[in-house]
Amino acid sequence: MLEYLVKRLLGIIPVIFAISVVVFAFVHLLPGDPARLVAGMDASLEDVAAVRKSLGLEGPLWQQYLHFACNALTGDFGISLKTRRPVITEIGERLMPTVWLTVFAMIWATIFGLLIGVLSAVKRGRWQDYGGMIVAVSGISFPSFWLGLLLIDLFSVRLGWLPTGGYGTWAHFVMPSFTLGLGVAAVMARFTRSAFVEIAREDYVRTARAKGVPEKFVIWKHTLRNALVPVITMTGLQFGFLLGGSIVVETVFSWPGLGRLLVDSVSYRDYPVIQAEILLFSIEFILINLMVDVLYAFANPEIRYK
């Protein structure tokens, strides 16, 4: 297991290198002079030159890359062009709101998604199944933008129970994490259902029943444990996506997270922040994938011993 982990971690290095090249190339591939874009319409020529310098756009390409990569390794992604604060501070400030939002959304989505999925699978073809799957399909098809505004209108404007947005007490988490998690819960429910239905046909489930295992253990132990194997992969992927910060949910609920930072940075052309965020997302994604694979190995002994 340890050997496996070390191998996988080593395998990440070339991937991160490739991503860093792409992220670096990003600024150089854009049309126009990024320095001029950043400096703005009414900037003087010398201002533009100063911006070019601060973006590290001088010297041969390889030198620029080395400079970028070495700084990035030490966590120095430069200074935000917009706020003139270190990029790492900007990101640090917004990382936790996004992480917490994602974690809460994933927790409820996983619990409800699994429950609905299992219920639908066990009651296959009956009203519980149809009900569960209608909820799931609508969950996937609800645009979160629209849902968010709907919730705000109901719970904040009309009922006055919850704050419309922002980051603070637990009350602030309710609507954003619900909105963010709904799609995940829906996907999870559908995924769990189909995995569960498939596993329920397996011979070993019949074996469990033949042993006299009570039905609830047949469902929650013998069947679900196996159905979880594919579900874990899906959960990991969803988690990775959400950790990037949901642009829509963070915008609707004025959540000070990474998704909004990315939107702001893109519209302001804050290249250092964009570069750092993309790099961060990529690494997050890779690490989550690794985590999923490790979990996967725990859930699935066939992989564990390979």
């Binding site: 397996e202 011979d203 019949r206 074996t207 033949a210 006299g212 699935n300």
Partner: protein
């Protein structure tokens, strides 16, 4: 041979009494009655074999007894399933509630299934799965249950049982898994073991081991066994009494010896006639078709014994394989380091003449299928020659090789998977005709019709799709398709293994008939020694990628010279209870693996001639030294 042991005397009341059982399935086409008005009983300690072909309702019966049928979409529509428990109380399981059933299942009645590979839960350890039953039914603590699991593993004669407790199913071979299944089933010392085709998926030597094991444990624990099987050989081996089923109904029931010696019902007779019996052609040099049996309504059947198949012509071989080697690399880790090699085919040489059938026999993993696939060039050879009329296929250019390839055709085990479900049967058969420019226009249709007639189907079947045909018919279609390109050599890879015995006999006969008509050469790849005896002129026995013995069928079967051939023959169950020997020692051990270290090819030496055209390996291979 001595007489069979006397069946256990029946005590006053039977363990199980099934009365008027009806099982239904709701399907799109309406209610399907899988079991109709079935009644039987099982006495304590006896073995009742339920035998029948696919669709006979035998498995449904066993699942109904366990009340597992409702989880598969079925319903007990009537009848009683009386079971006398340990406490002496007789309960009707057909109307028992879920709680009662949970107490009975695994505790008083246990079950093992056909597919040991998929019947164990892959995410739990062997130990946990065995212990679960003990904890459920006996309220044992975790440690006690584990100790009991270990005891059970030892009971089923698993070497190194202790080390196995914490392993997962995928780390075990099929035979081992079936032993684990048995250990699990017997953990609570049930009064009745329901064994649903427990050895069908296993190799013949492993099957022999498992059958012996069940028998021994049955004697030790004094339990009854309900044995479901389609294999008359297995029935003869295990059964005290036999119940024959057909299309959901009981056809005949009786003491095993009686059923085999004096079958009353025509269906039983037909079934028995179709069963290939090892040794049926002892003393005969040539193959012979299965006797044809026509079942007439109301009993009675006519046997037609076929003449010997004397079809070999010429002395020059059509196909000759010389020193063929096929290996697969096993790679591991992120850098794909070569960690070993599968020596699937190792220095294999043989030849086939026109009109001759050469059988390649052996157990799973012996390389017989890879040999066939390599000849078809579905698999690249590492070295060696494949000579077709003296010309090396491996040395030819791609163009020429393609035209040669049409002369060698292949028939697979699974007739459904090898036909495209979206194409009509006629189109599938016509495809080789058009691609090889063997016919055009109207001639294609005529040719397809002719081929369909040749394989015993009607020309208007051409417009239908594969799903409209039964397994046997599909295999006929596959044969017609193979014949379309006018091959000289047909490689039949377990072509009859998936079929019911009666269908199997028909297909074998069809192949032999076609051979007679067309002077085809067959390479008949099979694990079934009895079928091989019927069809082949010569036999090659493969073990760990090598031919250990090759020669005329009569010589090999009557005087097996290699110990592996002898073991293989001894393991074949004989469809005659009078010849069974229940005191045979329990075989142990597994088939060794053909994976070796990267640069460590196995030793291969020339075979030694022990009779005319009969060659045997006289050096150490695998377990045989």
């Amino acid at each position: 041979m001595t007489a069979a042991p006397v069946p256990v005397a029946a005590p006053q009341s039977p363990l199980v009494r099934v009365d008027g059982l009806n099982v239904e399935f709701a399907t799109e086409g309406g209610v399907f009655r899988a079991v109709q008005d079935l009644s039987f009983h099982i006495d304590p300690g006896e073995t009742l074999a339920v035998v029948g072909e696919s669709g006979s309702g035998k498995s449904v019966t066993s699942l109904a007894l366990m009340r597992l049928i409702e989880f598969g979409g079925g319903r007990i529509a009537g009848g009683k399933l009386e079971f006398r428990g340990r406490d002496g109380v007789v309960r009707d399981l057909a109307s028992a509630d879920a709680q009662t059933m949970n107490r009975v299942r695994g505790n008083e009645i246990a079950m093992i299934f056909q597919e040991p590979m998929t019947s164990l839960n892959p995410v739990f350890t062997i130990g946990d799965q065995i212990a679960e039953a003990v904890r459920l039914h006996q309220g044992a603590s975790r440690a006690e249950a584990r100790a009991e699991a270990l005891a059970m593993l030892e009971k089923v004669r698993i070497p190194g049982a202790k080390g196995l407790l914490d392993r997962h199913p995928h780390q075990l071979s099929g035979g081992m898994r079936q032993r684990v299944m048995i250990a699990m089933a017997l953990a609570c010392r049930p009064k009745l073991l329901v064994a649903d085709e427990p050895t069908t998926a296993l190799d013949v030597t492993i099957q022999a081991q498992i059958l012996r094991l069940i028998r021994i444990l049955q004697d030790e624990m004094g339990m009854a066994v309900l044995f479901i099987t389609h294999d008359m050989g297995v029935v003869a081996e295990v059964a005290d009494r036999v119940l024959v089923m057909n299309k959901g109904r009981k056809v005949e029931e009786g003491v095993a010896e009686e059923i085999f010696a004096r079958p009353q019902h025509a269906y039983t007779r037909a079934l028995l006639a179709a069963v290939p019996r090892l040794g049926a052609l002892a003393g005969e040099p040539l193959p012979r078709r299965f006797p044809l049996v026509e079942i007439k309504e109301g009993g009675g059947g006519a046997f037609t014994e076929a003449p010997p198949q004397d079809t070999v012509t010429g002395s020059a071989p059509v196909l000759e394989v010389k020193n063929l080697v096929t290996r697969f690399d096993v790679r591991r880790g992120i850098f794909g380091r070569l960690s070993g090699r599968v020596h699937a085919v190792e220095q294999v040489s043989f030849s086939v003449k026109a009109g001759e059938t050469l059988a390649l026999v052996g157990e799973s993993g012996c390389g017989k299928s890879t040999t066939g696939r390599t000849i078809m060039q579905l698999q690249a050879a590492d070295s060696g020659q494949i000579l077709f009329h003296g010309r090396d296929l491996l040395a030819m250019g791609a163009q020429e090789r393609r035209s040669m390839r049409q002369k060698i055709q292949y028939v697979f085990q699974d007739p459904f998977a090898s036909l495209d479900p979206r194409l009509t049967v006629g189109f599938s058969i016509a495809e080789p005709l058009t691609t090889h420019n063997l016919a055009t226009g109207k001639a294609v249709e005529e040719r397809v019709a002719e081929l369909l007639r040749d394989v015993g189907l009607s020309p208007d079947h051409a417009r239908r799709y594969p799903h409209e045909f039964s397994g046997g018919q599909r295999q006929r279609i596959c044969i017609a398709r193979a014949l379309a390109s006018e091959p000289e050599v047909l490689i039949a890879d377990e072509a009859v293994a998936a079929l019911d015995v009666s269908i199997q006999a028909q297909i074998v006969n069809l192949l032999m008939e076609l051979q007679e008509k067309r002077r085809l050469s067959y390479i008949f790849i099979s694990h079934d020694m009895a079928v091989v005896e019927r069809v082949s002129h010569r036999v090659a026995v493969m073990y760990l990628g090598q031919i250990v013995e090759i020669g005329p069928r009569q010589a090999v079967f009557d005087h097996p010279a290699h110990p592996y051939t002898r073991r293989l023959m001894a393991a074949v169950p004989i469809a005659d209870p009078a010849r069974r020997d229940r005191e045979r020692p329990l075989l142990e051990g597994e088939i060794p693996s053909a994976i070796r270290a990267p640069n460590d090819p196995p030793e291969v030496r020339a075979l030694v001639e022990v009779g005319e055209g009969h060659f045997v390996a006289r050096y150490s291979i695998g377990d045989f030294r």
